[in-house]
Symmetry: C2
């Protein structure tokens, strides 16, 4: 099992401590799975405390054994109840605790209120945002995990043409792809930062089902299997002459990529071909703009100006209820990482950022077309991690 | 698509309003996916307000169209920002709002603090617990969904003997089962109430990997595929003469069942056969105890007394770090519903409760044996929803 290297873990902690110092916060109490994994190398039922300087502490409820196997941290200790926290933390600090980062974006209210009582007098500040900003810059190790996820995607997408059969249901195609992903090491879980934002792989959708309204904050529609999983693949049979969109997230060793390709049995009407060419043009222009120093808002405005002047204004990035106000989203351990190519938040692009750029166009009855690739911002042109032909694939 | 019937939705709302009256709370502001689905019949990006009496209100951000298709509620309106809530609620109430149920178990702290400011002067009380208690009693409609999930499980488990091959990896067997589940309508997602408790189907584990320590609060071990998904199926090859445990959750139309069977290529050592017989004995004795009026704590104590007097004290319900202090868990829309057969909380069993009863025994090197079935509490003996032979399956 490939573990996060010791230097990598301590480098991340070093970046966090720099942030704690500049924000004048005594430490970060980490409880969220993804952040525990990021800063300790293991994802246990545990709590991690990173003080402003010095060695962090990982308190583990379960499994201590596994934490010791997987984490390169020097201080890993068992604990049984959160009431032990204030004493455990005080041993690491020179002065009494006054200000603490907590993951307020995700920590449940009841746990937050309980911690507030436990650490009475300590000011809690939201650490979710600063950590998301640290995590948006990926290291070489992280890029390698995303490249492995992209390799899995490439191998499985290569099989799609031989799998699609007229009359098969969307869910059948999805199941075939899911099984192939798993056998190649896909982690199964797709994680999101936003509360209650659920995703199962992604979407395998066709024809009119591609614009069926969904609650998920993305442009793809899809009836899903029931009102309890109201998005993505459903029981609709795949027909000749309609677009089939395969938008799948692949996760490997905690890191995800996002990729969309469109297939068709037979030909597609000329207006869909034209719309696809437009999406590829948007992608091409965006790759010129995805450079260090550029503003995410400006890029979005540039794209939207082009879209407003095109025939696709009403159809770009979702039709009807499905329309979204972004054209790319950060991705890594979570599918909704920073930056977003959107009006806000406005962030300056930096090398090491990874973005799923997904210009897509959806029509109400005919379905949609477009492209999605995961890109790495470099010093120069962005690097396409999800290398694979962007064209429509006719079968 | 099978939707929750109108009478069912209003019956649930009626039960909630009874609870609101007895707790003297003005209403329930529902934001969690699963509760929105339960009380509105649709799972949109939305907020639902159930006043103490009268018609509830579903405010929908996305998708309003889909909410109108799926929900039988009379009042479904669009909203764009939570700031619109206080006014929208006031129109439903005779008096100003003083006390409100909120899902404090799951609502993120930042959202909670924001609502607190928005509804200044209103007292927020944790509505998670009372709703969990309402949801633990299943209706006939809900049992039907769980029965369909059990049918999917039965069909796919029947294929396991023909799928297991010596030398195939745990993950390969898991992938084959997952694909079959999906084609039969498995929803993919497995939901939990507890924050950051993640589960992907369940566990397909064999031999020594069955006791590998995991953070998940269950008795099954398993290395998983990486430190980022540290549980369940891994890359270990399945060997002759070792137990292979298939513990899968199947979800249909929002409702789940949980089921475990143990397989082996060739024979198993006598001590494992004996341990399995003991687990079946525990199950049998428990089915005598799972009757209305009985206390969940008493049942647990009775089981543990038997275990303490057996040779399985150290191995029952997990070995080492994996040991858990329950022998059955409620299941429905979430895998960690009430009641638990454990020391606490002590609840009186009632008809309509559904429980995954999973007496299992795990040894450190040899792996584990045992059984898991999902049961419905009735007026008389419990009904086994996951009907299927309980024996070890030798291939």
């Amino acid at each position: 099992m490939l573990l996060t290297p010791k230097e990598e873990v301590y480098h991340r902690i070093g970046r966090l401590q720099k942030e704690l110092n500049s924000a004048n916060v005594d430490g970060f109490l980490i409880l969220q799975n993804v952040n525990l994994f990021y800063f300790s190398g293991t994802m246990q039922n545990s709590v991690m405390f990173v003080p402003r300087k010095g060695e962090p502490l990982l308190l583990v409820k379960r499994s201590l054994t596994r934490a010791q196997i997987e984490s390169p941290l020097a201080n890993i200790v068992p604990y049984t109840h959160l009431t032990e926290l204030p004493h455990a933390l005080s041993t690491l600090l020179e002065k009494p605790l006054t200000k603490l980062y907590l993951e307020l974006d995700v920590l449940p209210a009841r746990l937050y209120l309980w911690l507030k009582e436990l650490f009475s007098g300590v000011e809690f500040v939201n650490g979710s945002e600063p950590v998301r900003k640290l995590r948006m810059i990926k290291s070489r190790f992280e890029i390698e995990q995303m490249q492995k996820a992209a390799e899995i995607a490439r191998a499985v997408y290569s099989e799609i043409p031989s799998l699609i059969q007229p009359g098969m249901r969307e869910i059948d195609l999805s199941a075939e792809l899911e099984a192939r992903f798993r056998k190649m090491g896909h982690q199964g879980l797709v994680r999101a930062h936003r509360w209650d934002l659920e995703l199962y792989y992604g979407a395998v959708i066709s024809g009119a089902n591609m614009s069926y309204p969904v609650p998920f904050e993305g442009p793809d529609g899809g009836m899903g299997l029931s009102a309890a999983v109201p998005q993505g693949a459903g029981e609709k049979p795949i027909q000749e002459g309609e677009p089939i969109m395969v938008d799948m997230v692949v996760g490997y060793n905690g890191y995800m990529i996002d990729k969309t390709r469109v297939y068709a049995l037979g030909r597609l009407p000329e207006d869909l071909l034209k719309a696809h060419r437009f999406a590829l043009e948007v992608q091409k222009e965006m790759t010129e703009l995805l450079r260090p120093g550029n503003s995410s808002r400006r890029i979005y405005q540039t794209v939207m100006k082009k879209v407003e002047q095109s025939p696709y204004r009403d159809y770009f990035m979702g039709y009807g209820d499905n329309k979204v106000r972004f054209v790319a989203h950060g991705i890594g351990c979570e599918i909704d990482e920073l930056p977003l190519i959107a009006e806000k938040p406005d962030l300056e692009l930096q090398p090491g950022m990874t973005l799923a750029v997904e210009p897509k166009i959806f029509f109400p009855q005919k379905g949609g077309v477009g492209i999605e690739n995961t890109w790495l911002i470099t010093e120069d042109r962005p690097k396409k991690l999800t290398d694979f032909p962007d064209d429509l694939h006719f079968l």
